[in-house]
Symmetry: C2
Subunit: 94 residues, 2 copies
DNA sequence: CAACTATATTAAGATATTTTAATATACTTA
DNA sequence: TAAGTATATTAAAATATCTTAATATAGTTG
């Protein structure tokens, strides 16, 4: 692992290293959702959720598409789910 | 995933979400090493490296043992390596 | 025990992340 | 086109992380 790659890897981890953002990824694991559904399930504010969604989209973790008034978010690359599953197993028993 | 678990998971991610710390984990994947070996391979300062090592030890990612003047660090739980491998594969091609 | 080696701790400043509140934008529909 | 709904952006304050430099500690050896 060279320095450049280590930085890329750290950037991906930082993009998901937040409780709300992990929950968002879990919510989207079940398929794409529009923002207000995500806000409801998170029990967080619209603004903050939107910022989390934007951050993860900019970092390539999520992708979005518009359909009328709604914007649907989805997981951009399923690799992230693998990482989450390892992490989940690791944390569940401790 | 409940809130408590999401926080635990985020804490583990934060503990490793730093280029130097990822490199340290990779170095230790080959077996335990003492601090000065790690410092050499990282090309970072003794103090900063020691702080990274402490942080990861406190968060349960690493473990250490003393042998005379040297303190040997090792990976506390191999789950972390699985996470890193997923992440590595994810980042290598982008 | 003095000098040395290996490592840890501390404090401070720099930088980044998180959160809130207010406001803006984009699209839809009456 | 005005009002309404869904979402995004911005700015500021609060908090956390990162880095450096200086110093402390713990063990070893002459």
């Amino acid at each position: 692992m060279n320095n450049r790659l280590a930085e890329k890897m750290a950037a991906v981890l930082k993009a998901i290293a937040h409780p709300d953002r992990l929950m968002i990824i879990e919510i989207l694991a079940g398929g794409e959702k529009c923002v207000n559904k995500i806000v409801e399930r998170l029990d967080s504010s619209q603004s903050l959720t939107s910022q989390h969604l934007n951050l993860m989209t900019n970092k390539g973790v999520l992708a979005r598409r518009r359909e009328g008034l709604h914007i649907y978010y989805r997981i951009a690359n399923r690799d992230v789910l693998k990482i989450l599953r390892c992490l989940f197993r690791h944390c569940r028993n401790r």
